[in-house]
């Protein structure tokens, strides 16, 4: 799976279900949505094979005014944090 993060500007909030339906159809799992006043941030777990299809197809929706794909820098995993803590304590 690949994690995709989209910042979307919508012409109308009524278009948000269309976006979410499309993501579902492409095989994505929406893990986080926040939306208000024509803006939405959506995080999607996308199948790696089809991940390249999400952004262009969401952009194609007429009521999507703008869409930016955010590249999130991965944080440390719990194991990495624990290893780092131990290293510091040693």
């Amino acid at each position: 799976m690949k994690l995709l993060t989209f910042a979307i500007v919508l012409r109308t909030m009524a278009a948000l279900p269309r976006v979410l339906m499309l993501i579902g159809r492409l095989g994505g799992e929406v893990t986080y949505v926040s939306a208000a006043d024509g803006r939405a941030n959506v995080v999607v777990k996308a199948p790696k094979r089809a991940a390249h299809r999400f952004a262009p197809q969401v952009r194609r929706i007429v009521d999507v005014i703008e869409m930016t794909e955010l590249h999130v820098v991965a944080g440390r995993t719990r194991d990495q944090a624990e290893a780092e803590r131990k290293r510091k304590l040693a």
Partner: protein
Amino acid sequence: MTRRSGSKVVVEALTRAGVTTAWGYPGGAIMPLYDELLNSPVTHILTRHEQGAIHAADGYARASGRLGVAIATSGPGATNLTTGICTAMMDSVPLLCLTGQVASPLIGTDGFQEADTFNICTAITKQNYLVRSVDDLPRVLAEAIFIAQTGRPGPVLVDIPKDVLLGHTSEPLPDHVSVPGYEPSPRLDPAQVQKAHALLRASHRPVCIVGGGCRIGNAVDEFREWCRRTQVPVVSTLMALGSADPDYAGHLGMLGMHGLRQANRAVFEADLILGFGNRFDDRVTGATDRFASQAKVVHVDIDAAELGKIIRVDAPVHADLKAALTAWNQLLEQEPIEPKSEWQKQASSYGTGLVRRESSEPGKVPPTEVLDELFSIIGPSTIVATDVGQNQMWAAQRCRADHPRKWITSGGAGTMGYGLPSAMGAQAACPDTPVVAIVGDGGFQMTMAEMATVRRLNLPLKVLVMDNRYLGMVRQWQEMFFDRRYSAVDLSDNPDFAALARVYGFEAFTLTERAEIRGSLERWLSCAGPALLHAICQAEENVYPMVPAGASLAEMVEAPQ
């Protein structure tokens, strides 16, 4: 602006958009619009089912290049449109669908004939609207008409509550439509064309796959000029038949699952694929990992979402095909390439893979022979509409249309029942052009009530029913991939379609003998009004060549000798 009703606004919007014909079926919620249509210059054609109306609007749009309009009432009226909406969406057909909705206070109460049309149609429309206020109606209609016809066209649905149709507004229709974020015509980047040109120059075995975008983008002339300059072998998708000049020696016919041998082999051997307005559908590519595996790929499309969607692309050209080919032809003028004539000759030498049966069952005719004869009689200027299944593939393999608007078929959706009503729409759009509908016995029975509409309009439509008393394509798959276990494909108790057509007021004939094929076809085609030919076909004839699902284009199954 004077105040006028919502219904009047609809008629105003249609008239301003140049709409002269609408297809539909009335009902409670849409009655105010039907009342207004009586006073309008728009000719409304009453079909016998909403599905007939939308397929007719679709055929009308494909044949004419104009906007198709379909009207239905709320609830079942709207849901009966959905198959046609999906068909238009898959094949990028500009349609405006107007549906009545229960009055606003009743929305959400499970009122009589209430359905959530907006949400039902969200996934199968390019854009859709539920109009909440009559003051919004002028803007919404102008937007809907604009969006349906621009960029990559598609169906747009406007769901209008009854009180909105009855309400009054003084809002004018906007003179100019602006939809923020909607960019229907991407600006051509000349560097992308130059890169594609460089790949073409370097290639030895290029093949162009022309798709439905050539017709939709009105790029036929530019495409033919490009072919003339390059002599690149061309294969057509199902949607693009008729795009290549019928006299172009490099046209290898349709590719894909039931494509011709020469088309599929050329693509398999190509070192460069040039996709023009196509979408690399699974019926075209076969197994994608083995599709033209030695080739670099150039893909020209107006829809950015198509570029790289299925096939990795080396040189994407995000542009309207007409604009891209105009620029490319200019480039070819300045920097001509070595014509690919030798490779063209080699590709053509692989042959079509179509075979003619020597024997036939008594009292039945070989379906492919009927079509061979038909196409030799009608020539390239007749509009041919097909249904879906074996009849469609046999016809596609033999299609000789001289323009893609003369080939009407449901490609992406594969909608059975499409043939007769779409042919009716095409005939209404082009009254002076002969139109033939080629249908199977299965698909015909899904929408055959539209014979009544054809008769009422006195359209000189010619319907060929190829009756093998089976759902032929499903039967073929069951024969080939399910050990001949025929499940739910038997139509052996079909009615006498010629007798049925006569009841509807058609002239009708039955064809059972091989020796009578040409004579029957000529008699049927010479009828002045609507006429039907019921061809009793050999039952277990298969469509060949065939690329089994999941196989590569090189793994074609050819007709047994």
